[in-house]
Amino acid sequence: MYKKRNMLDGLAKGFTYLGALTATFFLGIILYFIMANGLGRFNLALLTSDYHAQYFNGRPLRFEACETCERPDDLSDDILYAPQYGLGLSDTRDRGGNTVIQVTYMHPDSPLHNLVNTNNLNQPVTIAIDTVITRISYTDHPTSLTRRGAASMISDLESGATIYEVSFSTVGGGIRGSLITTLILIGLTLAMVMPLGIATAIYLCELAPINRVTSTLRSLIETLTGVPSIIYGLLGISVFVPLTIRLNLTRGPSLIAGAMTLTVILLPVVIRTTEEALKTIPKDYRLASLALGANTTQTVGKVVLPNAIPGIMTAVFLAIGRIIGESAALIFVLGTAVKDQVRIQENSTSLAVHIWSMMTDEPANIELSSTIALLILIVVLILNIGVKLTVHQLKRKTG
């Protein structure tokens, strides 16, 4: 009989291990997928470059081959090199996954440094490392095209032909715009939600009389936590977007309206976290301050608030995490068009909305999405550690 019971116990225990394993599997699959697809493209250039590629047509002013541009000895074998133009090319894939020919080396004396814009001969344009070459046409030779590959383009260049025009583009696929948008959103939102949230928390926790009005206020604020973020998006387009238009700040969805919407989303979080911090402050502090002849304002400003700073820091961390991750509400209020030049009175995308925008495109850009997701996860992880540290500090302080 004991054997049977031990078996049943073992089985039941096994189920809990299975449950935990499932949870671990979920996290593992998320991390693995994001790392596998995102880590390869994760670099600084991604964060600082534009999403939309810029296209140029340039032509050399003088038609002369380079005398001094010999292949450097230390140049990697992967790079195909045309000594006449001092140009090194490679077949690569862009951030969208398409095969392209990219400039991987340029000799300092290369004549291709000095091109002029075909459409405006007074405007100089330049080819640099990482530039994508889409087409080279010659005065005395058939045009070289991307789809024939870098080797073919090099052999065309080496045939002694004279370049008429080079079509090239920047790489694109960077996330600078979305990154800046996210940072601006964080700044604007915190600037609005922290004062509002802290003031409300102070009122509810320190000043409000205990009566029905106060409890109604509390439950109204508490109700906000149960509202799904997509409904906040509706609030944004029905209230904040028209409001900012009416105030002549904007002409449609904008970062300002986005930050206002995020402010409402975060209010209950900030209020609750701040209130919890205020509650941990011993009553004696307040009484001592009041007994010394300070009024309520002074007591709150000089005794209560400074002691609540770790709790308020926690609120800031939580708020930043939520802003970075928020997508549904911002899709409505911010729009889904990725921008490189960000202005707070115009639409743009945050990092999370950028992912949504690319994932709903045909075809979905999973690689770049994963790269952004990786960035988001890293920031969220750092914020989590930040919250833990402040909570830890708070615990140590209050014993």
């Binding site: 049943l8 949870a23 000043l207 409904i231 988001i376």
Partner: protein, 325 residues
């Protein structure tokens, strides 16, 4: 705590009265300001209710620029949604969306509830200390991952899997976009909520109950499953209710794997589906007209579904809480 200490104290400071008066004014001003801000904070929920509702009922009470009035009953029971393509007012039937939404959330709970509760029991009672700590960190990480990342991973990993699975089972799937995919992504997202709330509930069970069970010759595992879970029941249920509320309102992750079905209900696991939220995220280009306003109607519908579900679940919770089975 609210006592004013503005009565002049017996002191020799010369201008105590003037200073006291200034401070009283300062106090009143600041209190007034804080009250005003608190009122503002509390007003947003009312703002949401009023604005979303007033916009949401426009399609039902106006003729929508000669397109015709949308019939409320048709909206609530309809089985076809043709927004964007053909601007006819009879083409907005959200009945199947309600069914789909409740269906996928229910199925996801079938996965996340047992897994979440077992994981919570594992963390709180069964795992050795180090493993328990590691598991709690894992659950916290899962909780902090934004929904868009869940959606991305589901689209990148599960859609191909489901597509192959459907083919292996001899059916078709639209690139994996399906009820199945939505259920998995919602289950993943609900799991940390259920686990965290259940763990707290399990931990707060009176130690005396456990001792009583052990003293009766029950094994620790029997105690955990029969007594601890029974005692933590109402907390665990509260976690499930919270998770259901969130799953009903989840939008972006669902929209990436649902497949935007235009008619339904879609009950087949490998069929494409659409929920209230995923439909709200569609056709973002319009900025006015019925296709724009109807999104608010869906918003009102979503809030109603969430409120009613919440109410029913809490009702059941109270019933279940009374009868100890």
């Amino acid at each position: 705590m609210h006592t004013q200490t503005d009565t002049p104290l017996p002191t020799k400071l010369p201008n105590i009265k003037a200073s006291s008066k200034n401070r009283r004014i300062q106090d009143t001003l600041i209190k007034g300001l804080l009250l005003a801000i608190a009122l503002l904070s509390a007003s947003f929920i009312i703002l949401i209710a009023v604005f979303v509702t007033t916009r949401g009922i426009i399609p039902f009470i106006t003729d929508n620029n000669q397109l015709g009035r949308v019939d409320v009953v048709g909206f609530l029971t309809g089985r076809v949604w043709l927004g964007g393509a053909t601007f006819i007012s009879t083409a907005y039937g959200a009945g199947y969306l309600i069914v789909n939404t409740l269906y996928v959330v229910f199925l996801s709970l079938l996965v996340s509830f047992p897994v979440g509760v077992l994981t919570a029991l594992f963390i709180a009672k069964i795992a050795p200390a180090a493993l328990s700590h590691a598991m709690r960190t894992i659950v916290e990480l899962l909780a902090s991952i934004p929904s868009i990342v869940y959606g991305l991973v589901a689209a990148g990993v599960f859609l191909p899997w489901i597509h192959s699975l459907a083919r292996a089972m001899g059916t078709q799937s639209s690139g994996g976009n399906s009820t199945f995919a939505v259920v998995i992504v919602l289950a993943m997202m609900s799991l940390p909520t259920i686990t965290a709330v259940s763990e707290v509930a399990i931990r707060s069970v009176d130690k005396n109950l456990e001792h009583a069970s052990l003293a009766l010759g029950a094994s620790p595992t029997q105690t955990h499953f029969k007594v601890v879970l029974a005692a933590a029941k109402s907390g665990i249920f509260a976690g499930a209710i919270l998770a259901v509320g969130r799953a009903l309102g989840e939008a972006t992750a669902v929209s990436l794997v649902a497949g935007s079905s235009r008619s339904g209900p879609n009950l087949g696991l490998f069929d494409i589906t659409a929920t209230i939220t995923s439909t709200m995220l569609e056709g973002m280009k319009e900025t006015s007209g019925i296709d724009y306003d109807i999104r608010f109607s869906l918003g009102v519908l979503l809030m109603a579904v969430i409120l009613i579900t919440n109410f029913l679940l809490n009702f059941i919770k109270r019933k279940v809480g009374k009868i100890h089975v």
